[in-house]
Point group: C2
């Protein structure tokens, strides 16, 4: 094949953008981390840093979405429990990484919101995909309005991640998960409000 270098560049960029942000990460640092020669970056990404940013956001977004899908596809638990799992998994990843691995998109999204339309758009697409996956899970259980509740869950999730990461304290993720999960549980259709099993 040969395009292994390209994959390593994307992976290195994803990790650095997640940890330090887009502007603070130099292209030299990315090639060094990926063990790739400097020139290979402009070979694989002729559009420079912005193209690399856009592709990295898509890459990170797709990878993170697989985690959501994994959680959501556990049919044996209710959507409220799936949401709680999502919060718990993220809290664990955040804490075991020394409060480094937060949302792989949020930092770039905020940095790019008013400075790069292509990058902002890439982030918006990722968020839309995550939201849609969540809404599908809700709709499949008759939890309505599924789209609005998915937006709400993601807002709470993203915000709690910021608070927990900034404070070096998993508390916000835990507390928010409890309240959000209860909100979702209360929206389940009547016929399933029994105790389960």
């Amino acid at each position: 094949m040969g395009s292994d270098t390209r994959a390593r560049l994307l992976e290195a960029a994803a990790q650095l953008f997640r940890e330090q942000g887009y502007a603070a990460t130099g292209l030299k640092q990315i090639t060094a981390e990926a063990g790739a020669p400097w020139g290979s970056l402009y070979h694989f990404f002729p559009g420079g840093k912005e193209q690399l940013g856009v592709e990295t956001v898509g890459h990170s977004g797709a990878r993170y979405q697989r985690l959501f899908d994994l959680v959501y596809e556990r049919a044996e638990v209710g959507a409220d429990e799936a949401v709680r799992d999502m919060f718990r998994l993220s809290a664990e990843a955040l804490e075991t990484s020394g409060w480094a691995d937060g949302c792989p998109i949020a930092t770039v999204a905020l940095e790019a919101a008013s400075t790069s339309e292509p990058l902002r758009h890439a982030c918006a697409d990722v968020f839309a995909g995550w939201r849609a996956a969540t809404a599908r899970r809700f709709a499949s259980e008759g939890i309505e309005p599924a789209e609005d509740l998915a937006v709400y869950v993601f807002a709470a999730f993203e915000g709690a991640l910021i608070l927990s990461r900034t404070g070096h304290d998993a508390g916000p993720l835990r507390v928010t998960a409890d309240i959000v999960a209860r909100t979702i549980r209360d929206r389940r259709p009547r016929s399933e409000t029994a105790s389960g099993v």
Copy 2:
């Protein structure tokens, strides 16, 4: 007096950090925006960019908190309505600024989370202050657990701001405000659940 320049530097930095982030904003750009000579920056902030960042976060945080206080002190409405006002005011500011004026802290908080302890700590302090102000309002109405609910409200608020700003769409702030406000309303003590007036 004489320290008018210092205030203008803080103000310019606050605006630029909010819009572009910390790493993407150059010190030269800040002095230019403030109409201050280049050297004055290191005169007033001998600690360089990091000191300016820390003080700017405190400055922005205090200013934003006054907005919260204003909303929360409207005793004639319930806490759920106060929360809704907070979301609505932010949505208006965001939209009328062309999706530029989001949270003045969040971008810097994420950028600094793993790169600057002084800056991260400054952001954490601001978030703690906002949360405490919200918790006081809840506690004054007997809405409990006030601290946990305040964390939840702020998580949802910060996340909705990200989603709305990234998507150029006030929808997430509106939708999230509705659900969060209802959650708070449902926590009001029994004696006040009547219709009001």
